[in-house]
């Protein structure tokens, strides 16, 4: 997944089918091999949003690659799986990232896969430990939302995916078809920087959603109320001393990591 890749543009159904069918093939083979491989990125949003999945294509959101979350302890099994499925790994990326990321290319189809081991670590780190067993075939909804909300330079494709998620799923305190806002609030209350980026982006989503002509006024209101509820829940979570101290320094010191393109 290229974080700043545009990911926007016309994409016909057969092209979308190519990504979706390949994803199904990989997930099926991984499951049969006992490998925990969870989908993240645009395809994960599509899988988890059967009712509002149309929003992606309606707003010109295109698939560019297939992204996965996985545990580092299964690295070797995943490398073997990808080889069996016809992919070639870019060794340099794996070595430079210290084994935290792998890029696999399929020379026949031209498809490109990203595997993020143990965590997604761009502007802020989202840890997988104990979370990849919670949902299938994607990461849990809370992590899907955080995946988008951790991007400081958020772009349109991320906003579209987030709008779709907020339209499809209510907020709640569990992971069963609801966005676990309790978990998000806890993560934000332990890290001021993460709180800063997530709340900044939720606010952007709230504002930008009002400008999409593809959304009905009811859908716009729904996005707004979901964002308001999420913000209220995050604000209500008690903040420890470290958070409060970091908040006093605020934006004067950079609160996120810069993202390097691969």
């Amino acid at each position: 997944m290229a974080v700043n890749a545009i990911g926007m543009g016309e994409q016909n159904q057969s092209e979308r089918d190519k990504f979706e069918n390949e994803l199904k093939r990989i997930i099926k083979t991984a499951d049969e091999s006992g490998i925990i491989l969870r989908v993240i990125g645009a395809l994960a949003f599509q899988i988890h949003c059967p009712k509002f999945g149309f929003v992606q294509s309606a707003m010109g959101r295109a698939y560019t690659d297939i992204d996965f979350a996985a545990y580092g302890r299964q690295t070797k099994q995943i490398q073997g799986l990808m080889t069996r499925l016809g992919y070639k790994e870019n060794q340099e990326v794996f070595i430079v990232s210290g084994g935290q990321r792998a890029i696999h290319e399929n020379p026949t189809t031209g498809l490109h896969l990203d595997v993020f081991y143990e965590k997604l670590d761009f502007c802020h780190a989202i840890l997988w430990e104990g979370r990849l067993e919670v949902d299938s075939p994607t990461i849990p909804l809370a992590e899907l939302l955080l995946e988008k909300m951790q991007i400081v330079q958020i772009n349109e494709k991320d906003v579209i995916d987030t709008i779709m998620l907020l339209l499809e799923h209510p907020l709640g305190d569990s992971d069963k078809e609801v966005i676990n806002i309790k978990r998000i609030a806890e993560i934000c209350s332990n890290d001021w920087g993460f709180w800063r980026t997530v709340t900044m982006n939720l606010e952007k989503v709230r504002v930008l959603a009002q400008g999409y002509s593809q959304l009905t006024s009811e859908q716009k209101s729904r996005v707004e109320s979901q964002v308001n509820e999420a913000m209220a829940r995050i604000e209500k979570e008690p903040k420890p001393l470290g958070w409060r101290l970091r908040a006093r320094v605020g934006d004067r010191v950079k609160w996120y990591k810069d993202v390097e393109e691969v």
Partner: protein, 269 residues
């Protein structure tokens, strides 16, 4: 707890101005040996409290030169806690304790009819707990210091001397990796180096002297006997059944003298 806040508070305010830099606040905290300062405006009105924990943000967030430059420009006003929680001097200590617990804070500004007159902090309560101790003088365990200064044999002499100075201790117990006593380093061991200076390569192992031990249940008379016979100022307190275990504490000649000086000791009747 029948005492009033004014009985335990530190009278007077140690303060800094809101525009004091973190470096200046650090100097004041260090000079006065306190954990916090009241931040007061031009008219002396408290506007916040800045503590050593707040100051740690300076080190915490100075990950690179740009951040360091930013943090160096921050002032007490940027990092202080506000508003200042306060308690009236004539209220009971129970009220102060309730506030400290409920608000999860370490100190309160003490006011007299709204006018600031002092500060009461956790340290004051710790000191009061120590004073509440019922005087007993039967055994070594009754008088010894349970909390002791400890270091390893490889500790540089400079580091040990600094720790002794900061803690106000005249000795440090030297232990191995498993906590077994190896010796004691005292001020006396360091005296010869005052004149000629300390070789920086020296470690505690080079200067320490053997530790004399005494059983935790021994009487004060027995402790005094060992000190006099061996001309030692301090003994490492152990359990004789398990001499390899980490010691209970240290008893010094000063501890015995302090027990003798207590108002209700037999020496003061």
């Amino acid at each position: 707890m029948n005492k009033l806040v004014r009985d335990l508070m530190h009278p007077g305010l140690l303060s800094c101005r809101p525009n004091a830099t973190l470096g200046q606040v650090a100097v004041l905290l260090n000079q006065h040996h306190v954990h916090a300062l009241i931040v007061a405006d031009r008219d002396g009105r408290p506007v916040g409290i800045i503590s050593d924990i707040d100051l740690l943000a300076g080190e915490w967030l100075s990950a690179d030169s740009k951040s360091l430059a930013t943090m160096r420009k921050l002032t007490a006003a940027d990092l202080m806690s506000q508003p200042v929680d306060s308690v009236e001097a004539n209220l009971s200590l129970t009220e102060a304790v309730r506030q400290l617990i409920e608000k999860d804070i370490s100190r309160l500004l003490v006011t007299d009819k709204g006018k600031p007159v002092g500060v009461i902090s956790l340290s004051d309560f710790v000191a009061s707990v120590a004073l509440e101790e019922k005087p007993r003088r039967e055994t070594v365990a009754d008088v010894m210091a349970n909390a002791i200064l400890v270091c390893r044999e490889k500790t540089p002499i400079y580091s040990a001397a600094r720790s002794m100075t900061e803690a106000g201790w005249r000795s440090v117990l030297v232990v191995d990796a498993r906590g077994v006593p190896q010796g004691v380093l005292s001020g006396k061991d360091l005296l010869p180096f005052v004149k000629d200076g300390v070789d920086e390569s020296l470690t505690v192992r080079d200067l320490m002297h053997p530790a004399l031990t005494i059983d935790v249940n021994a009487s004060l008379r027995e402790a005094a006997d060992v000190m006099i016979q061996k001309h030692y100022h301090r003994l490492v307190v152990i359990e004789e059944k398990d001499p390899e275990a980490f010691p209970f504490g240290i008893i010094s000649s000063f501890d015995i003298v302090a027990a003798m000086a207590k108002p209700d000791s037999i020496w003061q009747v």
